[in-house]
């Protein structure tokens, strides 16, 4: 079932939580609403569910206007951030609830309900916990029960509010993979809210980045990562190194630092954005770039070594970070305080007088 959101505006008293939101979620896709807290992503999710009412705009399921339809009748599956399991009911009673409250005519028979609950618990691999109460479950178990409960009504739309927010890293990862598999298997349309860019990129078919009640960008994870539309999206998607300066004669300069741009550019104030893995470190400056640094810190982060760099003879708001492989690290053995130079390989140029950023690739020019 496809979801369409048209011209949604939402106020909380005088605060406008959502500004003219338009969004299309195709049938069967897994979409992430990504943004910092207060960006309006949860409000949007709750509006799709019918848990909040927008002041303006429409919500359509498969082309049918459901804006005036009560939550009860929208028949969506919703997984709450803190699970909202009914604390006085057992796991099995929780999962059965949606079926139990159906009008008598539509309600399956008792044995049938029992069978369906058993199937659902098997699906989430927790059939052995049927008689437990929510307080006796771990976070990951609660999460899966909440999911089973939402799935009991066989919804065509599944909405999840920060589904992995309260879990520790290991459980998160397992559950993520498991949800992805479940989605691929059952093929409902899902939307989930998250503030974790890694989660959004890994799990979804489409990512909607939001800030301050507006949609910043809507794209597939690969596209989003390769071509962020705005500085906000770029910065929100992870660590980024920035050189801000002036472009003249195809070169961006600031202090004693400069980078020759592979494509022709108008003279302008601009920022060059480089991700940690889009930069190489060298002993000496090259023809393409002169970015002198002093090594500020070296730390081993799993598979790579992270080098923090302090600019030498120019300035930036935050220290640069560059990741190098252990092999490279062992070959060169850089020390804290050493001088070195950064050479960009791929970069993104934001010019003040241009709406769209430009992706630069030095390797092509080479």
């Amino acid at each position: 079932m496809s979801i369409e959101v048209q011209g949604i505006n939402k106020f909380f008293d005088t605060f406008q939580a959502l500004h003219d939101i338009d969004l299309t979620i195709p049938d069967g896709q897994l979409t992430a609403l990504l943004g910092p807290s207060g960006s309006g992503k949860t409000t949007l999710l709750r509006i799709i569910a019918g848990l909040e009412n927008p002041e303006q705009g429409r919500v359509l399921f498969n082309g049918r206007d459901v804006t005036q339809l009560h939550v009860r009748d929208r028949r969506v599956g919703f997984v709450f951030q803190h699970y909202a399991l009914f604390r006085h009911m057992t796991v099995a009673q929780n999962v059965a609830f949606g079926l139990d409250v159906l009008p008598r005519k539509e309600r399956p028979s008792k044995p049938e309900i029992r069978k369906r609950v058993a199937d659902l618990l098997e699906m989430v691999q927790l059939d052995h916990l049927a008689g437990r109460y929510p307080v006796q479950l771990s976070g990951g178990q609660k999460q899966r029960i909440a999911l089973a409960r939402a799935m009991a009504m066989r919804p065509e739309i599944l909405l999840l509010d920060e589904p992995f927010g309260a879990l520790d890293a290991k459980v998160r990862k397992d559950l993520r993979r498991w949800l992805r598999n479940l989605h691929d298997e059952l093929h409902f349309t899902s939307v989930f809210v998250t503030h974790d860019q890694e989660e959004a990129l890994e799990l979804s078919d489409q990512v909607v980045v939001m800030s301050n009640g507006r949609i910043e960008q809507m794209d597939s994870p690969l596209e989003l990562y390769a071509r962020p539309d705005s500085r906000f999206v770029f910065e929100f998607l992870g660590q980024v190194n920035v050189l801000s300066g002036k472009i003249s004669e195809g070169t961006i300069r600031q202090g004693n630092a400069w980078v020759r741009l592979p494509d022709s550019c108008d003279n302008d104030d601009a920022q060059l954005y480089l991700r940690p893995h889009e930069v190489r470190l060298t002993q000496a400056p090259t023809e393409e770039a002169h970015l002198p640094f002093q090594i500020e810190a070296i730390s081993v982060i799993g598979a790579e070594v992270r080098i923090e760099l302090k600019p030498d003879g120019w300035a930036c708001d935050e220290l640069w970070e560059v990741g190098i492989s252990h092999t490279e690290f062992n070959a060169r053995r850089p020390q804290r305080g050493d001088r070195c130079y950064a050479v960009p390989e791929v970069g993104h140029l934001f010019c003040d007088h241009q709406a769209v950023p430009k992706t630069l690739d030095w390797s092509v020019a080479r």
């Binding site: 848990l51 009860r72 028949r75 919703f78 009914f86 604390r87 006085h88 609830f97 409250v101 009991a152």
Partner: protein
């Protein structure tokens, strides 16, 4: 010498003993001995005398009327308390704060003033009283008046117990219920009620304790007619003023027993709630 893990104020054995000793002594003098006195006085003529006092016709009438008052007041205030708590904890609307302040009025107003309020409105001089009088309905100085003022005095208790609890529990579970298709009644019956039942029970018990024991407000609107408009507390007063001290304490011992049951109920409810 082993040093204790936490060194906090008042930990020294002497201070500790002194404070506990004072607290226990004062509590015994101020709260416990009065309780003992009630039962000692009530039983001072032996069990037979006690039974005689309780089974006295007028006392039985007073017990009956008190039960009637409680049976009418408690359900009414329970329903109102639940609706009010649902309203102020599950919805945001202008005037919500005003409503929660209004409900405290019976706590602040002297019971005698409470009784007077009703007497002025529904008494033979009051405009509602005059209007009702035309239909030959008299509310004051008869049992309906007693019920009315008791409702006034005890209306905050259930809501006061429920509001903080329901606020703290939040409405996520109910929202989850709605998403799953539950109707209003199913929501209340199957999700809200199980979560609030202990607080509700305690609110009802408190309401009952106050309803049974209300004195000031009731004495204003009751005609103090023996066997007609005498509730148990009024009967206690009457016996005491007749110098029938033992009889007064026998009747009082029933009220004291209800008070003790209330305290026990509170302890049980707190214990149940701390387990969740």
């Amino acid at each position: 010498m082993a040093t204790p893990k936490h060194r906090r104020v008042g930990d020294s054995p002497m201070v500790r003993r002194l404070l506990i000793g004072t607290a226990v002594l004062l509590t015994v003098l101020l709260l416990f001995m009065p309780l003992v006195l009630i039962f000692v006085q009530a039983l001072s003529e032996g069990w037979a005398g006690y039974a005689g006092n309780i089974l006295d016709d007028y006392t039985l009438d007073a017990i009956g009327l008190t039960l009637v008052v409680a049976l009418m007041t408690v359900p009414l205030n329970m329903v109102f308390g639940v609706f009010l708590a649902w309203l102020v904890t599950r919805f945001r609307f202008p005037g919500r704060k005003v409503l929660t302040t209004l409900i405290d009025i019976p706590f602040a107003v002297s019971p005698v003033v409470a009784g007077l309020l009703y007497l002025l409105l529904y008494g033979s001089n009051g405009w509602a009283g005059q209007w009702l009088g035309e239909y030959d309905i008299q509310l004051m100085f008869s049992w309906p008046g007693i019920v009315m003022v008791t409702v006034f005095v005890t209306c905050p208790f259930v809501a006061r117990e429920l509001i903080p609890l329901m606020q703290q529990q939040g409405s996520e579970e109910e929202e989850a219920g709605v998403v799953l298709g539950a109707s209003g009644w199913q929501l209340f019956r199957r999700i809200t009620l199980p979560n609030i039942r202990w607080a509700l029970l305690y609110g009802v018990i408190l309401t009952n304790a106050r309803a049974v024991g209300e004195f000031g407000a009731v004495s204003v609107v009751s005609g103090n007619i023996r066997g007609e408009t005498n509730t148990l507390p009024l009967h206690v007063e009457l016996l005491y003023q007749d110098y029938n001290i033992v009889g007064a304490f026998a009747a009082a011992s029933l009220l004291a027993a209800i008070a003790l049951l209330t305290l026990v109920a509170k302890a049980i409810v707190e214990w149940r709630q701390s387990r969740v």
